[in-house]
Structure formats: C-alpha cells, structure tokens
C-alpha cells in the first residue's frame, strides 16, 4: 500500500511542478492556460487518488465508516475540480481574447478575422 500511494503521489507532484514551470516558460496567456489547466488538474487528480487509495485500504483494515466517507468526499472533490477548472479556463480565455490580448507567434487567428468581418468590437 505504501508503494502504491508513493507512486501516485510522485506522479501527481511531478505534473504539478511541471504546471508551475509552464507558467514561467510559455510566452502568452493562452499557452500558459494550456500548461496550468491540464497539468494542475491531472496532478491534483493523482494526489487525490492517493488519498482515495489510503481511505479504501484503511476501511478494509477495520471497517470504520469514516474512512469510507473520506474516500467518497474526496471523489466528489475530484469531480468538482474537473468541472470547475475546465470551465474557468474557457472563461479566462474568452475574456482575454475579448479584452484584446492576441496570441503571440500565432500562425492563424480565425476568431479575430471573423469578429472583424462581422463588425464586432475587436479592440
């Protein structure tokens, strides 16, 4: 059990640290969103999965109800993180584009072209 939990925690920490590095390594808002959203969601999923494994293992040692509750609540927290992170990233990306931040080094930007042809505010 210790080995499984250690491996899960290790994978989670590696991805979380990579997400932190991506915040400094990428050039603009959109690519930083790529790095942080995917890496921190995936890393937190793995560290929380370690807690779920711990709860289930302790539950089968002595059949105490509170370890079962721990696993269940951590699962609910994982689902909340998955949904809220993805939606929040969409909201920030849309707001950044509407407030006039253009993607750096972009080879194509269909959204700005379409907004210009429709006569909407591009700023």
């Amino acid at each position: 059990m210790v080995a499984v939990i250690g491996i899960l925690l290790g994978i989670g920490l590696i991805f979380n640290v990579l997400g932190t590095v991506s915040l400094y390594r990428f050039p603009d808002v959109y690519t930083r969103l790529h790095g942080t959203t995917k890496c921190t969601t995936f890393g937190s999923l793995f560290t929380s999965a370690a807690v779920v494994v711990y709860g289930i293992a302790r539950y089968f040692e002595g059949f105490e109800g509170r370890f079962f509750t721990l696993s269940l609540h951590v699962t609910v927290a994982i689902l909340a993180l998955l949904i809220s992170n993805a939606t929040g990233a969409n909201a920030i990306a849309r707001a950044a584009h509407r407030s006039g931040i253009m993607p750096l080094h972009a080879v194509v930007d269909r959204l700005a072209e379409d907004e210009k042809s429709r006569g909407r505010r591009v700023s």
């Binding site: 890496c39 080094h105 959204l111």
Partner: protein, 162 residues
C-alpha cells in the same frame, strides 16, 4: 426539477456514511432541494434544463465516457504538454471547427472535454452557427475538421446530452 433532484441527491451523498440514512436527513434533503430550485427559478425564470439529464442510460453512458476515451485523452494530453514544457516547442493559432450539436448541454460538455484533451483549448463559441473557436498549440492545417481536433468526442456528446 433537475436542480431539485441534483441538490437533494448531492446532500444525501455528502451525509451518507456507509450505512443506513436516517429519515430526518431525507426530510432535510427534500427541504433544501425545494428551496434551491425555487431560488434558481426566481433568479432566472427562463432557465431550461431538460429532463433527459435524469435518464439513467445517459448517466451510465456519461460514466463510460469519463473512464474510457476521456481518461485516455487526458493522459495523452498531459504527456504531450509535459514534453512541450520541457522542450519549449510551440506553433500556436486559433482555428474554427463545426460541431453540429443543437443543445447547450452537449456543447458545454464538448467544450470542457476539448479543454482537457491534447494541445487544444476552447476560446469562444458561436451561438448561431454552433461553431467552436479553439486555441491549438500545434497547428498542422488551417481549416481542420472536428475529427482532427478531438476524435470521436462530438459523437459521444451527441449520445450523452442530446
């Protein structure tokens, strides 16, 4: 109705400790569910959530989707992004893909799935033509299809939420 069922079931899930549930907890769950659905109706009267979200077949399909293709894409996405963080090789751009999904729930599910899959991030949605604008970190063609970006996800979204 959907809001009532979702909030009452969430309350029961959070107070459930592995054994039987006391009747007073069920009464509290029904009271809170009713209160929250009334508040949601007063806050936004033309809220439209269809009853197909309560269909157990669709929920089962959603669970299968979550643990099958979505988990695979999530793992692939993270290895991809990790390589890009280490090597720093990017070729970004914003492209537009047609989805052909009619309902808002399916479009939301597809947009959230695309955000968590390899190299793509949803930026904006067009309400009239039901297209999605996607920031793609490694642009290979300037006019992609939906299958270039996200594989079979639109098909799954149609089967789960339409």
């Amino acid at each position: 109705m959907v809001i009532f069922a979702a909030s009452a079931l969430m309350y029961l899930l959070l107070v459930w400790a592995g054994g039987a549930i006391e009747w007073i907890e069920i009464v509290i769950a029904v009271l809170f569910g009713g209160l929250i659905s009334i508040m949601a109706k007063r806050w936004n009267p033309n809220i439209t959530l269809r009853h197909s979200w309560l269909n157990p077949v669709r929920l089962l399909r959603f669970v299968v989707y979550l643990f099958g293709p979505f988990l695979m894409a999530l793992i692939h996405a993270n290895l991809d992004v990790a390589m890009r963080v280490i090597t720093g090789k990017i070729n970004p751009g914003i492209v537009r893909i047609p989805t052909g999904l009619a309902s808002d729930g399916a479009l939301t599910l597809l947009a959230n799935s695309i955000t968590l899959t390899p190299g793509t991030l949803t930026v904006d949605a067009d309400d009239e033509s039901r297209d999605l604008y996607i920031h793609w970190i490694n642009v290979t063609t300037e006019t992609p299809d939906a299958s270039d970006i996200c594989g079979t996800f639109p098909e799954w979204a149609r089967r789960i939420a339409e």
